[in-house]
Symmetry: C2
Subunit: 142 residues, 2 copies
DNA sequence: TATTGTTATACTCTATAACTATA
DNA sequence: TATAGTTATAGAGTATAACAATA
């Protein structure tokens, strides 16, 4: 394979992500919880309770984007809102028991995508996993 | 690294794609052309002129999703609409000279993402490229 | 004054359903 | 009748700007 420049790879990555995102939207993991809500549940499960502002920062979105997601999750009783111990402007969002269970189950219910991945070789799966770790570095650093 | 099941990998992939997509939206490649329009230009550049229906199929979206994108691209004179030679229901979309130039330039103007990728090791870049080829197989096969 | 968060508003993207025109 | 495409409508997701409450 010939040399691939960073700019070419960036273009390929941008298109690949758009298309994978479209394919994932057409095959939702769980109809009861939208993609943005799933991401919020995953972040809360991984890092524990946090304020809406910190959740927005970790998700890489602006604070107004998390408000409707949290309102929905609260209505579904998947998260709960506690008062901040010292700052009354803030609140602390934590998973409820149901929310924690759901978040754990969602990873096990990736039916469509998981069946696709099962069709890959072990080598390809390892490549995907390593690429995801690289992508995480790309998106998490400032 | 311990074994990663297909279901776990699927969950990681879904979250990774959502987050990379958010990061890409916050750092657009070209403000004059939206992400969906860029994808359409890239497909036309890669596969040549085609009908709106074929474009939708190649993009993995429903026909109504391409109509507004094509209308915008036509208004911007980046694509042009030709009559189908035998079927008057269809039309053929082709890049204009400007559209072809823009599509070629966009790959060279991936400033934000390309600079991130330049910070990766050669090995990481090769892993990303191989992962993109795997992802293309995941999304293109039925 | 500065910060945290929400509400108001607008835009992008895509889906399903209904419709038009042509085959 | 069947197919290609558009229009109408709706919903998810996110942004900026304006606001309220608290620090």
């Amino acid at each position: 394979m010939p040399e691939t420049t960073a700019a070419e790879l960036a273009g390929l990555l941008r298109l690949g992500v758009l298309r994978l995102n479209r394919a994932l939207r057409a095959n939702p993991a769980d109809a009861a919880v939208t993609a943005a809500a799933r991401a919020a549940l995953a972040t809360l499960a991984q890092h524990g309770p946090m304020s809406p502002g910190e959740l927005a920062r970790r998700e890489g979105v602006r604070p107004p984007a998390v408000s409707p997601v949290l309102a929905t999750l609260e209505r579904q009783q998947l998260v709960r809102r506690l008062p901040h111990p010292t700052d009354r402007r803030q609140s602390i969002i934590e998973l409820t028991g149901t929310g924690a269970e759901l978040s754990a189950e969602i990873r096990a219910r990736e039916a469509w995508l998981a069946s696709r991945i099962r069709g890959l070789s072990d080598r390809d799966r390892r490549t995907l996993l390593r690429a995801l770790q690289i992508v995480e570095r790309l998106t998490s650093s400032p």
